[in-house]
């Protein structure tokens, strides 16, 4: 029984695992655990939750590899399992209390901006605040409802396309686009408040 090589394709490894060569499971684990960890941390921002997600995901892979039919790539299949597991963790935390409406742009009856929008994008002198701002962005993402957060993480953080995010979440491309846009609007509104109302800076 040859050990798994880094040059072996996922497909080879999956076939060998299905045929009962269990040693290759560790190769798949080594190949994908970092990616699943990053995803789980982005979703949950909590090391214990991320660890449980990792355990769930790879146990599911081990248990269900027999039913993986190879119609999609192994990576896509695993990603979908990971997104589901991370979403379950988030949903388990209960509903988000905060109202999102107040962060969405407001318009007049005839569709104009209800108030002047300012440009708060940082200039060079703002670089000092980078660390602080990262924290604000993290907290703002944290406060999004799970489904919005998932789409935002997959598209804007992980860099998936609309189609890939739709596949990973098992929803339509249209739903991905709608949630992504709304999540970005809420986040933008929160950052605007943080950047333009000095009182909110801690």
């Amino acid at each position: 029984m040859a050990a798994a090589q880094s040059s072996d394709s996922d497909q080879d490894l999956v076939e060998r695992l299905k045929a009962g060569e269990e040693a290759v499971f560790e190769a798949l684990l080594a190949r994908y655990q970092g990616k699943v960890y990053r995803l789980a941390m982005s979703f949950t921002r909590n090391p214990e939750d991320a660890e449980e997600v990792l355990q769930d995901v790879f146990l599911t892979v081990y248990r269900k590899i027999g039913s993986f039919d190879g119609r999609s790539a192994f990576g896509t299949w695993l990603y979908r399992i990971a997104v589901n597991a991370a979403l379950m963790k988030l949903r388990g935390r209960g509903p988000i209390q905060e109202s999102l409406e107040e962060y969405l742009p407001q318009f007049t009856e005839d569709g104009q901006h209800a108030r002047m929008v300012v440009d708060w994008t940082p200039g060079p002198e703002e670089q000092l605040l980078r660390q602080e701002r990262t924290q604000v962005v993290r907290e703002a993402i944290e406060a999004l409802p799970p489904d919005y957060k998932a789409v935002l993480v997959l598209r804007d953080l992980e860099g998936l396309s609309n189609e890939e995010a739709a596949e990973a979440m098992g929803i339509s491309v249209l739903a991905v686009k709608a949630r992504l846009h709304r999540a970005r609007l809420v986040l933008r509104g929160k950052l605007e408040r943080y950047m333009t109302e000095p009182g909110t800076r801690q």
Binding site: E22, F25, E26, L29, Q33, G34, Y37, R38, M41, S42, P47, E51, L54, Q55, F58, L59, Y62, R63, P105, F107, E109, D110, G111, Q112, H113, M116, V117, V118, D119, W120, T121, P122, R133, T134, V137, R138, I141, L152, D156, L157, G159, N162, K177, L180, H181, R184, L185, L187, R188, L191, E192
Partner: protein
């Protein structure tokens, strides 16, 4: 609505029906597709024309785009080696346990 608001609406009225006069709300609704380059060229043109004459929307699109960049900037730390080891041990133990359970089940009549 005050007299002046009604007056302002009345003044803007002739422009509202024109194709190129996209409203701010419409502009905001189209932003994601616009940034993806997924808009029909004619619609993208109307959006850009609107941006030319609307400082608020110009600032809105700048800050919307900046938001996506800020999200991308959140670097996630690498998976700690300690966690990798713990995960491997957990999975090995669990799989061993399941197989033992499975074997027992198989031997039952």
């Amino acid at each position: 609505m005050t007299f002046w608001e009604r007056f302002a609406r009345w003044v803007r009225r002739p422009f509202r029906g024109r194709r190129s006069m996209m409203t701010c709300r419409e502009q905001v609704d189209l932003l994601a597709d616009y940034l993806d380059g997924a808009l029909d060229p004619e619609v993208a043109g109307a959006l850009e024309q609107h941006l030319d004459g609307c400082p608020s929307c110009l600032n809105f699109i700048k800050t919307y785009k900046a938001t996506t960049v800020l999200v991308r900037d959140i670097a996630c730390e690498e998976m700690p080696e300690e966690l990798m080891n713990r995960l491997t041990s957990f999975l090995k133990a669990k799989i061993r346990q399941e197989k033992a359970g499975g074997d027992r089940r198989e031997t039952q009549p």
